[in-house]
């Protein structure tokens, strides 16, 4: 029993005294209370604590390892982007709070750029929310519009955060696989397709939203207009929302076009389109993203935002706005960073593919994005003596990191529980890397069959 003797009076200073022995007893009681510490986590985050990135980014942090795992560029952002940040930081006012839903000059720039891209007028104040990365946009969208009783369709493989975010919102993820369709051509991301009948079966009256990711991480698929129309038709038929993660929108390769599902008839009013400064300008560490959509949906994302972190950093937003103006003015020009980065990455893609092919592998050539998946089962690496509980690709990547000093990400990390075994022979490489990194990867792949020293 805990009690303290205290004396106080209403007028004047209140004070109380805890005798030393009571103090000690207090500490002793709280020490035994730790054994039955009742402060567990809330239900909403139960089971959401593990994370593939925590596991693999730690392992690959060793500088002697050629890191083609986590999707972060090791190339420099364009110099004008860095210069704009330095300019912004020099202005006192730009080091203080800005408008919560997005710095005025940034939302204005976004409304102009996307107004052109979407072919419609976008209101900077009501149709846009700036968030902490596209990640923050996904979170705001899901928290705003998804809850218990809802189902959300997720296309597998998927960027891993979709599933835990849907679960944290109390909803049920419903998975549908992209399936490899062998049409005789060499492996391309275009070969991975949804079965329209199978997709239609996943929709029901509880389906609140479908999450679309195009260009797609990890496969690199760029959904065609026809494929998007199938999804759109179902969204309209079932009055379903579409959360369209388009962070790689500028990174599409020759022969492909990025199409915004929000521009299809009947879709603007039910779509949140998500973009990312990190992927657009090779500044993943700026953590700025945005959601664009109709006011009647965006307003709810804004409510989430004002109750989670309220404002995003000001100088970064200002610098991003200025960078957008620079590229907005030359959007029709090949010099525009949106186009020049894409060209640069296409040659890196081709080089990466060549390296893998020369090592006897069959990579899936992506039509967009900066990832490439490859089936490693042909290498016949026997890992049966390793801990069986993990899928093959997890074991393979860990083995590859330690014995070949090359890192990648296992594809089963991007799958729901039912599908992990189906993708466990695939690993994902990231190729937005400087030449010297790709050179180092080449050395590893060329020497693959040599015995380790």
């Amino acid at each position: 029993m805990l009690f303290a003797s205290r004396s106080f009076c209403y007028l004047g200073v209140r004070k109380y005294q805890l005798r030393t022995d009571l103090l000690l007893r207090c500490i002793n009681i709280s020490a035994s209370a730790t054994m039955t510490f009742r402060h567990k986590n809330t239900r909403r985050i139960e089971g959401l604590d593990s994370n593939v990135w925590v596991e693999f980014t730690k392992v690959a942090a060793d500088p002697s390892i050629v890191n083609l795992g986590q999707g972060l560029p090791d190339i420099s952002p364009p110099s004008y982007v860095k210069e704009e940040l330095a300019k912004a930081a020099a202005v006192d006012r730009l080091n203080q709070y800005t408008r919560g839903f997005g710095h005025p000059s940034l939302v204005k720039a976004l409304s102009q750029v996307y107004g052109v891209v979407c072919g419609r007028k976008i209101d900077p104040l009501t149709d846009i929310l700036v968030t902490v990365g596209a990640y923050g946009s996904l979170f705001s969208t899901i928290q705003a519009l998804i809850e218990e009783g809802d189902e959300v369709i997720i296309i597998e493989p998927f960027y891993d955060c979709y599933e835990p975010m849907v679960k944290m919102a109390g909803a049920k993820p419903v998975f549908i696989q992209l399936r490899y369709k062998n049409d005789g051509s060499s492996a391309s991301s275009a070969n991975w397709v949804l079965d329209p009948a199978e997709l239609a079966n996943k929709f029901n009256s509880r389906t609140k939203a479908i999450i679309l990711n195009t260009p797609h991480n990890p496969i690199g698929k760029v959904f065609t207009r026809e494929e998007l129309q199938v999804i759109a038709d179902l969204c309209i038929k079932h009055d379903t929302l579409c959360i369209s993660d388009e962070v790689y929108e500028w990174l599409v390769y020759k022969g492909n076009k990025h199409i915004k599902i929000a521009t299809l008839p009947g879709m603007w009013e039910r779509t949140i389109t998500i973009g990312s400064a990190g992927k657009t300008y090779s500044v993943t560490g700026w953590k700025l993203g945005w959601s664009i959509g109709p006011q009647n949906l965006i307003k709810h994302l804004q409510v989430v935002h004002q109750n989670t972190l309220y404002t995003c950093p000001t100088p970064l937003q200002e610098a991003l706005a200025q960078a957008f103006w620079i590229d907005y003015k030359r959007m029709g020009d090949p010099d525009c960073y949106f186009h020049s980065l894409s060209r640069e990455l296409e040659s890196k893609r081709d080089r990466m593919a060549q390296l893998l092919q020369e090592a006897g592998l069959k990579p899936v050539i992506p039509d967009g994005g900066y990832f490439m998946i490859v089936d490693v089962s042909t290498l016949n690496v026997d890992l049966s003596d390793v801990d069986e509980k993990q899928p093959y690709d997890y074991k393979f990547v860990k083995w590859m990191i330690t014995s070949k000093k090359l890192s990648a990400i296992p594809l089963s990390a991007f799958c729901g529980p039912e599908t992990k075994r189906q993708f466990e022979k695939y690993i994902r490489f990231c190729f937005i890397k400087k030449d010297s990194t790709l050179d180092a990867a080449e050395v590893v792949l060329k020497n693959w069959n040599k015995q380790p020293a």
Binding site: S30, H39, I45, Y135, F139, C161, Q306, T311
Partner: protein
Amino acid sequence: SLQAKMSRPVQAQRLEGIDKNIWVEFVKLAATYSKVNLGQGFPDFSPPGFLKEAFVRALSGENHMVHQYTRAFGHPPLVKILAQFFGKLLGQELDPMTNVMVTVGAYQALFCCFQAFVEEGDEVIILEPFFDCYEAMVRMAGGSPVFVPLRLKAPTDGKLMSSAAWQLDPAELASKFSKQTKAIVLNSPNNPLGKVFSREELGLLAELCVKHDVLCISDEVYEWLVYDGKEHVRIASLPGMWERTVTIGSAGKTFSITGWKVGWTVGPNRLLQHLRTVHQNSVYHCATVGQEAVAQGFQRELELYGKPDSYFIQLPKELQQKRDRLVQSLDAVGMKPIIPEGTYFLVADISQFKSDVPDVPDSSEPYDSRFAKWMVKNKGLAAIPLSAFCCAAHRSSYSHFLRFCFAKEEATLKAANDILQRWKQEKTGP
């Protein structure tokens, strides 16, 4: 059925009752009308040169990886220095990887705490008046806020009161703890009152937390802004409190850079592990370059700790003078400022200030809110009504105070003084 779906609102229920926000209205009014803005809490003076330099050095340096993702739970140089710094202050051996987590401002730290520990069926004690997001975040997490008022003890002489006069009734406080009480939110130094809770007051809160096995979410963003030699006591350093407290800090308030949105949580791994889970499923990474610069700022402060050149000594010294300047201006015109022991806010009692604000009988809007709106529109001076920091049910009890921010340049404070003097002269008139 499709009919049923179309008749339901599109937004999730967790947004119910949290869509309104005082800042939206008052920031807009200030932007439209104010010539002198003492409303929203941010400095209008420069951030310290050493920090701006650190930022530019980081972003333009040879290591361009500062523009890419860093460690999700906090940039290593920053968590290391925070562990070092706060380890000393809390009397704990801190592991930078498990006892510290960096967040997008203290705001997101608060969000992580509520999402990690509060759900339907939980009560959270909030001392009133409070920084407005606490209530909204508790509700969004499905919890029930339980408000315990700080009341102004009646003055015994004609002198100006100190924020120490805002006090809790211990019996009332104790009665609000129930089996459903999950946590209490403490904010010291306190926004909006400027109160710095004494060791005794914190001891009372701590005793109740231990007795009822309740968590403490301790918002200490103004920890360096204490005046008149007052001590900021960290509740996590009190007996029995380390294991149940998450201490929240802010680079924005510490270094006068509110726009960088760098904050942090410090606490036992057993609590922080759940904050990490929320963080990795909501924003995941915080921007790298701000963290790098703040780490360098803390490095400098560690070396200068306790010395006159320390920003943590210079800033409160400067702000104390600004506080006194504003107190004088308000007192001279008949508004009764309550001298804050900390933060860069003060509240002033406007009930004796004979004002031009028209009487609106039976208005549901509290007097201070009407006063603040009239004042910004007609006098160009922006301040925030105290009732904005209270729950809807108690607004009428706090309806004759305004909150002013004094983290402003001399020119701003002089301009405020001029407006107030002119107003007084207009009223006393020929």
